[in-house]
């Protein structure tokens, strides 16, 4: 007989109405929300996400996934950084301090920090930078101090705010497609140079649009540098039941689909199949 599933051991409480401690605009379309949720703040890992019901409604219907941006286990709080895209995120921006938000959390696997990591290069495109902040915090917590954050966007106003990274002592390097801030061009243009400077034990972590992730994966593969990617797909159930959010991966030479919400959102770059 298989091992007894979790419910029979009494685990519960993955869904809760949690108190909004703060919710404000940071810049342009980027908002920061702080939630009181000690159980998650204590146990969650960087790279995991929350699944939020932006409104008690039938339209929008589905929950919306947001990466954990920051974890404060002392205060029992978590933060998310979000960009207004459509109906769900617009509704989220209307929450006031003291309101309650219905979330399922923590979901997903999170970044793997088990290996021998001496320095880290984080590559973020657009809002994809959000989970990399929680990652930077946890790398710092493990005494890993050499952290670079390569952050890109179409233009200056689309760059995510980087002050939190800077206060943590992370080296921030920017690129914009139109050259309005930092390097003109793709952020991945700067990755090979950064890798050249780096030494043994450097690991790359990336989150952002699929073409960016593909470029990061290819650059790291050429140099044989370990690389973890956080992928995005439309997530509906968030628990692995519906098989909606899959991405194609190699599993012992055979191709298969893994669920972004359960086996992901973080994948080893070598696993990911880029044909779709």
């Amino acid at each position: 007989m298989g091992q007894a599933p979790k419910c029979f051991l009494g685990v519960n409480g993955m869904k809760a109405n949690v108190k909004v401690m703060a919710n404000f605009r940071v810049k342009e379309n980027y908002y920061l929300m702080e939630l009181q949720r000690p159980e998650v703040a204590k146990n969650a890992r960087a790279g995991q996400f929350i699944h939020a019901r932006c409104k008690d409604s039938k339209d929008p219907l589905l929950r919306r996934p947001f990466s954990i941006y920051s974890l404060d286990s002392d205060k029992g709080r978590i933060k998310i950084l979000y960009e207004i895209k459509g109906m769900g995120t617009e509704l989220l921006s209307k929450y006031k301090e003291g309101d309650f938000l219905d979330i399922m959390a923590p979901l997903g696997n999170g970044f793997n920090l088990e290996g021998n990591i001496s320095s880290a290069i984080l590559v973020g495109g657009g809002i994809g930078g959000a989970p990399l902040m929680a990652l930077a915090e946890s790398l710092k917590g493990r005494g890993i101090n050499r952290i670079y954050f390569l952050v890109g966007a179409q233009s200056k106003d689309k760059l995510i705010p980087t002050v939190d990274f800077e206060s943590l002592g992370v080296n921030v390097i920017t690129a914009t497609d139109d050259g309005s801030e930092g390097h003109r061009g793709y952020i991945t243009d700067l990755l090979p140079m950064k890798l050249k400077e780096s030494s043994e034990g450097c690991t790359v972590f990336a989150c952002g649009p699929r073409p960016m992730l593909k470029a990061v994966a290819q650059i790291c593969a050429r140099k044989n540098i370990p690389c973890q990617l956080s992928l995005e797909e439309i997530i509906s159930c968030g628990v692995g039941a519906c098989q909606g959010c899959v991405c194609k991966v190699k599993d012992n030479d055979t191709e298969t689909y893994h669920r972004v919400c359960l086996e992901g959102p973080v994948f080893d770059s070598g696993e990911v199949v880029w044909d779709v």
Partner: protein, 305 residues
């Protein structure tokens, strides 16, 4: 409280209440264990399984539409061997009746699946998902043709002693005709409805959103269609019906029950509210209490009886 009877009998499957999970929205009953005790359910209906493992369709597989969800998962499932050798072991822990949904490309595949599941004690019933293309008939779905549904049901019923439920597709001209064909073929219960064929186009990419182009529409948007179909079918057949389509709360469940469903299946709403099923069971109990209903079975079909 305890005086109210919520239990129902679906073709010999004794359910402690009418609430089940719609196939494909609850995995194999193990994904929601962090949210509630699945043993509170009337029954667990599993994801559809097939003979061979299926990877399913390429992504994107899901897109939200107004109060709805379009999906083209493509019956991704581990296949019958892995289901029997591995998944079933985990299901040992579940005490609620388990109904296994099956589908095939040919009649023989349905029969083989029914035969193999017939030998498994743990399984309370079999649901035929007939919304599957028949490869011998040029890919036309079994479920759209009354003659095919009749044959398929007959063949499958002959292969198993277990209660056989046929799950109807709404993408037909006359649902009553298909329902009667299934019952004549030996269906001991009907479940309806499966998803409505739909489509969504990305106007910026000028291409269909789903990689499979078309998909099945589910969620609150389809509920009135489902209620209407249950209402029509319930008056034409005398087997118990499992009503499915857009159920979010106990009021929605009651609409189906009053239309003639003895049991209900909750699908998409599980994704929105992972405790939806247990909330509905509680809601039904309270409704009966408030309205002085001693047995939920009294309400079945009351809108036309």
């Amino acid at each position: 409280m305890s005086k109210i009877n919520l239990s129902v009998d679906i073709a010999g499957i004794k359910m402690q209440n009418p609430v089940t999970t719609a196939s494909g929205t609850f995995g194999f009953g193990l994904d929601y264990l962090d949210y509630f005790d699945v043993n509170q359910l009337g029954a667990v209906v599993t994801k559809t399984i097939t003979i061979n493992r299926r990877m399913g369709n390429p992504p994107p597989r899901i897109i939200e539409t107004p109060s709805g969800l379009l999906n083209s998962i493509g019956l991704a499932n581990p296949g019958i061997d892995e289901f029997i050798q591995s998944t079933l072991l985990d299901l040992e822990h579940i005490k609620a009746p388990i109904i296994v949904s099956i589908a095939g490309d040919t009649e023989e595949e349905y029969v083989e699946l029914a035969e193999r599941l017939d030998k498994v004690d743990k399984i309370a019933g079999i649901e035929l998902n007939v919304s599957c293309p028949n490869v011998r008939m040029g890919g036309i779905q079994f479920g759209v043709c009354p003659e095919q549904v009749n044959r398929l049901t007959k063949a499958s019923a002959a292969a198993t002693q277990k209660p056989l439920i046929v799950k109807l597709t709404p993408n037909v001209t006359d649902i009553v005709e298909v329902a009667c064909a299934a019952v004549e073929g030996g269906a001991r219960s009907l479940s309806l409805i499966n998803t409505l064929l739909g489509m969504s186009i990305d106007i910026n990419k000028r291409k269909p959103v789903l990689a499979n182009n078309v998909g099945g529409l589910a969620g609150p948007a389809i509920r009135p269609v489902a209620v209407r179909m249950v209402w029509q079918v319930a008056q034409a057949v005398d087997v118990p019906i499992i009503g499915v389509g857009g159920i979010c709360d106990y009021r929605d469940a009651l609409e189906f029950i009053m239309a003639g469903a003895a049991s209900v299946g909750v699908g998409t709403w599980n994704f929105v509210n992972p405790t939806a099923c247990v909330d509905i069971i509680e809601g039904l109990r309270c409704f009966c209490l408030e309205q002085g209903v001693k047995d939920i079975n009294e309400l079945v079909g009351c809108s036309w009886k």
